[in-house]
Symmetry: C2
Subunit: 261 residues, 2 copies
């Protein structure tokens, strides 16, 4: 949708796993070619973009290597990068450039598509020493066309950063729902927008998030330890009724949070 709204719309060809989904996708993306046959979907592609689950992306190298000419750039939209980049560079070489657009919501499926979803969002690209300069240039152009701003880092730095700004928030939102509901599961019905905002991402699909958590297990465990430390500090100030320390802690959080506005 984003690629087709400009004055010179891109030609988009979509692959979908189940043939039954084709009519639904076609009604939302009338200008696109849609197929459940991967070979015909990628035929003649200038750039191939993998948007399945992280595990499916990681294991797609062999089939793509057999279907694509050797120079076709490939990128993805997976939430973790180290495993994917290492697996796909092995199969596809330096024409694979990992990417992670920092946009989306708790919704999933084609019905949640929005043409402006990526506008102004950061897309993290994770090129390596193996990356082909030409492929990198074409992948950058692709993500810019969706509306994203590009930031580049190593796959490891990516996984460390998203453990903190994406995976930790999701884990914390789920734990917050569990803790808030522990004594009375109906308490959420009374809540205002504070609770709703803080826990919204816990509405996301558990199959996908379980997979993401396990794939970034080490970094997420380290982020969870920092979260426990931050909560321990807060509990300590509260136990001692230390009003000044409490106010400083909240002020510091408010100031740091402004970075994300």
């Amino acid at each position: 949708m984003a690629l087709q709204r400009g004055p010179s719309p891109w030609r988009v060809s979509l692959w979908t796993r189940r043939e039954a989904s084709i009519p639904g996708v076609a009604s939302i993306l009338p200008g696109s070619r849609i197929s459940s046959d991967l070979k015909s979907a990628v035929e003649g592609a200038g750039v191939v973009v993998l948007c399945t689950s992280p595990q499916a992306i990681e294991s797609s190298g062999e089939v793509l290597a057999s279907l694509l000419p050797a120079s076709t750039p490939v990128t993805d939209a997976g939430s973790i990068k180290a495993g994917i980049v290492s697996a796909l560079e092995k199969r596809l070489g330096g024409r694979f450039i990992g990417a992670h657009p920092m946009a989306g919501s708790e919704q999933s499926g084609i019905a949640a598509a929005r043409a402006d979803l990526f506008d102004g969002a950061t897309c993290l690209l994770t090129p390596t020493a193996n990356s082909h300069p030409q492929a990198l240039e074409e992948v950058r152009a692709f993500w810019r066309e969706t509306g994203c701003r590009i930031t580049e880092m190593t796959p490891a730095a990516h996984d460390r950063a998203v453990a903190r700004i994406s995976h930790l928030p999701h884990a914390v939102a789920a734990a917050l729902v569990q803790a808030a509901s522990r004594r009375d599961p109906t308490v959420g019905a009374l809540a205002g927008s504070g609770y709703r905002d803080t826990t919204r991402i816990a509405l996301g699909p558990e199959e996908l998030w379980k997979e993401i958590f396990l794939a970034n297990r080490g970094e997420l465990l380290s982020a969870l330890s920092d979260m426990q430390g931050a909560m321990e500090q807060l509990k300590d100030f509260l136990s001692r009724s230390d009003a000044d320390a409490l106010e400083n802690y909240l002020r510091e959080a408010r100031t740091l949070r402004k970075e994300a506005e």
Copy 2:
């Protein structure tokens, strides 16, 4: 604003602490009487609504008792209830009915006012055995007129519930910002809407929230312990790479979170 949008708008008289704020308030609420003199602000009032900070509400009983006829109903909008209700029943008797509209945002001040802020929100009322039935009826009518749906419970049950659905989410949002930023304070700038939603309330004013946390210290400490337990569980599943337990945990959180939709 909410009270003045219907076919028979209420007459609203506002008190503001600083005379200098009057022109700003008047431009947003042109149909209201505005004064920095409390005596003239409450003169002839059918119901008095206290919307200052919890501490200021709690200590306002004596001056209100001296200014109001003995039967004028009084309510408030404070985020905690046990201390306020006990202090104001002592000074004002059963015509004080504690209230807490579950609406608002991280913003504060008159510039954040919106006519539809309370539409469909829950207003928690905390009448006690001392409450005058007539005052309770009039306070219910007032909060319904703002657009709220009313739920009633004891002050203690209120403080227990909001510790979990309001104060815990705020504490967790602040701790999450602290933990996410601990290794790299600039990481928030890369974040998508998941992190932004989860931490938005950490942008709220620290002076007010420090006061709320301390006033509901016991219940909040107990909620924080449950949160630490919920995170410990998650860490355990992750450490053992227990995919099924992880998926169940996330599914349970998603299901419980739907209560708040």
